[in-house]
């Protein structure tokens, strides 16, 4: 089987790129796999690509940034998509041409706008799989409205959590579309797992407000007060850096909390710790939680929507604490810092329990979904019809109406604001 991934920019850094590469590598064991990158801005990707996976860019920004077509707005890529400004008539055309000429059996889109492209433009013989790495509830209403129309033409829609899949089933009427959770996969670690002895708590992610590293630092102040030989290492870069630095100084934690900068691969850094931490207000999946667990770290995380609660088993392989509660997070960290035996036991459980996110099980699930979609197509029914009873239809119509109203209201509001200027 030949499988093509369509991705925004395979040459950058980010969760979608990592997870797409991971899935592509795992699928390449048994299939012909290519990654089509809409944009390219450098020679090599940041992450090493398996030589069995081919990489094909569509628009090379180093040469084509000034192409007149790239100055004109995109028409296929939806206006309400987060990355709309980076898309253009040029990307519309190149993606369209690429899809038209596609000789693959399956094409997998990796973000809403690209899912729309393949829903509208992929040839009829190609199975269309849309992947959502964000969540429906956090999409703006205008985007939801655009997706609601386009996604009906997909064969499969995957979300990264069960909770988000449930939201799509409940709030969007997608008859004939197989909507299922397909978690991000994390490759088998190359290094031996952490042994739970290091007096280091590790966190990793972009330094942006939603990750709440401020809360984590405040929580860690309690740990440092009781155990001054413990450190917190935060890996990543981002706009919050100066504020976090100031907070560390204000709390007198300069000798305990360290902003480490970006690190790749993180695996070699996780194994230096013995507890992982995540304090996000919102986490569509929680890739770093799985990474840490696969390296043998129990993770203390907020129980935010949606990922952490589907990854961590509270009290068994990590801890779940309420969102925005520095005291609860501090207490949970302190509990693991202070109990060597419990920490190590939970670390061992984390390795066991996180195996379900290994490429093997995840790729099997992906293959099963693709197989079901193909079977449904050859049976002429597309994917297995959902139980779309009248009740469900009414519910999803209600959500559709609300999104349309919100979208209309925000358009009107913008028009009004423009008028006032």
């Amino acid at each position: 089987m030949k499988i093509s991934f369509l991705i925004h920019n395979a040459y950058g850094i980010g969760g979608t790129i990592t997870t797409t590469f991971n899935l592509a590598h795992a699928l390449a064991e048994r299939h012909e796999v290519e990654i089509v990158s809409v944009l390219r801005h450098r020679e090599h990707p940041n992450f090493t690509l398996d030589p069995r996976v081919s990489l094909r860019p569509l628009v090379d920004l180093r040469k084509e940034k000034d192409n007149p077509l790239h100055q004109r707005p995109a028409r296929v890529f939806p206006v309400a998509e987060y990355r709309y400004q980076q898309y253009s008539e040029l990307t519309d055309r190149r993606i369209g041409e690429c899809l038209e000429a596609l000789d693959s059996d399956v094409v997998i889109g990796t973000r809403p706008g690209l899912n729309v492209h393949l829903a509208l433009q992929a040839p009829s013989h190609v199975v269309r799989v849309g992947q959502e790495h964000l969540t429906l509830d956090n999409h703006p209403p205008r985007l939801r409205t655009a997706l609601r129309r386009a996604y009906r033409r997909l064969d499969v829609l995957t979300t990264v959590t069960e909770a988000d899949a449930a939201a799509y089933r409940r709030k969007m009427r997608l008859p004939g579309v197989l909507v299922e959770a397909l978690p991000n996969s994390v490759p088998d670690p190359l290094l031996p797992p952490a042994d739970g002895r290091a007096k280091v708590v590790v966190a990793a992610g972009r330094l942006v407000p939603v990750k709440r590293y401020d809360l984590l630092i405040e929580a860690f102040a309690r740990v440092a007060a009781a155990h001054p030989d413990w450190q917190l290492r935060i890996y990543g870069k981002g706009e919050e850096q100066p504020r976090l630095r100031a907070l560390i100084e204000r709390l007198g934690l300069s000798g305990n909390v360290f902003l480490m900068g970006a690190a790749a691969p993180m695996e070699a850094e996780w194994v230096k710790g013995s507890i992982g931490a995540a304090a996000s207000n919102f986490e569509p999946f929680g890739m770093t939680i799985v990474e840490a667990m696969r390296c043998g770290l129990p993770v203390v995380s907020t129980d935010c929507p949606y990922g952490p609660g589907e990854i961590i088993k509270d009290g068994v392989d990590g801890r779940l604490v309420p969102v925005d509660d520095a005291d609860a997070m501090g207490a949970a960290l302190l509990e693991l810092v202070g109990d060597d035996e419990r920490r190590r036991r939970m670390g061992r459980a984390a390795i066991e329990n996180a195996r379900r996110f290994a490429p093997g099980p995840v790729v099997e699930q992906a293959e099963r979904l693709i197989g079901e979609a193909m079977a449904a197509r050859s049976a002429g029914t597309r994917a297995a019809p959902q139980r779309a009873g009248l009740h469900r239809t009414l519910i999803s119509q209600g959500f559709a109406a609300r999104d349309t109203a919100y979208a209309a209201a925000s358009t009107a509001l913008r028009a009004l604001r423009r008028g006032q200027r």
């Binding site: 020679e43 090493t48 280091v200 030989d229 100084e249 360290f258 902003l259 480490m260 070699a268």
Partner: protein, 275 residues
């Protein structure tokens, strides 16, 4: 694109607590491959000090080389290359997994003298390099506490012991830079001292002061620093608050060599005096 097809060649390395480093490369089609470590020359200086390690065939079909612990490498930054044949051009190596967890708690251990510290790291342009320190004696900083006018430092000596006449010296850089010294009451390996930051600020703005300890009357001065963990470049990671003294901001920091210095900077405020 620069370089040959092997520019993506990666070497995994594992560093043990005693400084031994094991490098692992994939299988190579080469007769007598060696790992070449090149001491990065100072700006404008010619090459070169190199250290060669045989790359033996490993059980998994790959190649591996071992850098033994001890004072094998002079202090500096070493770039890692593959030398496939004696006369062949060398190929720069990229890092694979750098497993240096054994170094994380290095500051809690006793180190034999001379101290040979090695920390593999990734260069800014993404290649494998090793930062080395080679010191007959070393004063490892354990704690730094900054208040609104003082800095208190706790440190631990390796390869030296405090004796009669021990002093801590803070000296401004440059010829005839002012010097502040203070005795220390401590004995043994651990000592602590407090520096009056206001006093440094009073000696003039825009100076950098280096901090050293002389463990005994006739002993040489030892620079204070923090070398004994897994971090090759500490400057941007271990950051301490600045004390505001009059118009000056005084901040302890780690230099590019991970030694401790104190910087006095005139704060740029609207009310600042101008000549």
């Amino acid at each position: 694109m620069t370089g040959g097809p092997n520019t993506q060649l990666r070497a995994h390395c594992t560093t043990e607590a005693d400084g031994r480093i094991t490098f692992r490369l994939p299988a190579l089609d080469a007769a007598e491959p060696r790992l070449l470590l090149r001491l990065r020359p100072k700006k404008g200086m010619p090459e070169e000090t190199v250290h060669l390690l045989p790359l033996e065939e490993a059980a998994d079909g790959g190649r591996s080389a071992v850098l033994d612990p001890g004072p094998v490498l002079p202090e500096g930054r070493w770039d890692a290359y593959l030398l496939p044949e004696p006369e062949a051009p060398r190929e720069r190596l990229r890092p694979g997994m750098r497993d240096q967890r054994a170094l994380v708690d290095g500051h809690t251990r006793d180190w034999p003298a001379p101290l040979a510290v090695r920390v593999p790291y990734t260069t800014k342009d993404g290649y494998l390099a090793i930062r080395t320190w080679l010191r007959t004696a070393h004063a490892e900083i354990e704690t730094i506490t900054v208040t609104d006018r003082t800095m208190t430092v706790g440190a631990r000596l390796h390869g030296a012991t405090l004796a009669e006449g021990a002093v801590v010296r803070v000296r401004a850089r440059g010829a005839d830079g002012p010097v502040r010294t203070s005795g220390t009451e401590n004995a043994g390996q651990r000592f602590s001292f407090t520096v009056d930051l206001a006093e440094l600020a009073d000696a003039g703005a825009d100076r950098v002061w280096d901090v050293s300890v002389r463990p005994g009357t006739d002993a040489p001065y030892i620079r204070l620093g923090r070398l004994l963990d897994d971090i090759a470049d500490r400057k941007e990671i271990f950051v301490y608050p600045a004390a505001a003294v009059g118009d000056a901001r005084v901040r302890p920091y780690y230099t590019v060599d991970n030694d401790l210095s104190v910087e006095v900077k005139s704060a740029v405020t609207t009310g600042s005096r101008r000549p």
